[in-house]
């Protein structure tokens, strides 16, 4: 992998602009940076929520995301990627996760960002607990997320760059 690949799990908020600047700083070969930010919604399954609490498996969470960042770098000509995922209590409107990918051209950056998010949702060991006035409940995994991750394994998809 050439370029800067960063994976961080932290409690504190992150700064998307600052993280993105790291990917382009001092180089002129980057022609495209795609960023995705996952934000805490104020409702879950139609019910208003007070907050989310994210639990994770320290060590494994970083390792899983790093493994998929390496896989993305094999599939697409990336010049860098950054994934930051928060844990702990997060209130509606706050950022939860960000993915930024850099490449010479947009197609690779878009595809790699989507690939990383799809795998992060289904393979990185994080669990969301929702806080409502009625108490705390664990969010159930969605079949749609599994399907989103599975399409990257579909025949022919691997060649898409």
């Amino acid at each position: 992998m050439t370029g800067k690949f960063t994976v961080r799990i932290q409690r504190e908020p992150f700064d998307v602009a600052a993280e993105t600047a790291v990917l382009t700083h001092g180089r002129t070969d980057v022609g495209a940076v795609v960023t995705f930010t996952g934000v805490c919604r104020g409702d879950e399954a139609g019910e208003p929520i007070a907050a989310l609490t994210l639990e994770h498996y320290p060590g494994m969470a970083e390792a899983e995301i790093e493994r998929h960042a390496a896989e993305a770098a094999k599939r697409w000509p990336l010049l860098g990627a950054t994934v930051v995922h928060r844990h702990g209590r997060i209130t509606p409107g706050e950022d939860i996760v960000m993915v930024a990918t850099a490449s010479s051209h947009r197609q690779a950056a878009f595809a790699a960002a989507e690939f990383l998010m799809d795998y992060l949702k289904t393979r990185a060991p994080f669990w969301k607990q929702v806080e409502t006035t009625g108490g705390k409940t664990w969010v159930e995994a969605k079949g749609a997320d599994d399907a989103a991750a599975a399409r990257w394994r579909a025949p022919g998809k691997q060649a898409a760059e």
Binding site: G38, L54, E55, H56, Y57, G59, M60, A61, A63, E64, H85, I96, V97, M117, L120, K121, T122, R123, A124, P125, F126, W127, K128, Q129, W138, V139, E140, A141, D145
Partner: protein, 85 residues
Amino acid sequence: MRTKLRYFAWVRERVGKPEEDIDIPPGVATVGQLMTWLAARGEEYAHAFDNPRVIRAAIDKTHVNAQAAIKGAGEIAFFPPMTGG
């Protein structure tokens, strides 16, 4: 075999602890067998592992399936399907 077990999310809540060191008897060879054995250890374990098909496992921080051998594992973790992102 003395092994560290770790539990996350509702598996942790049901078992009532985040981790423990446990002596696994020699007859328990796979992740699936370990879940069956754990479920028989008491009410809280029975509750945590009452539907082992929905529980995911990792050996030494790598995803594994229920057929995976546990021999040589330093740390085995059990948790629900992931919901991050």
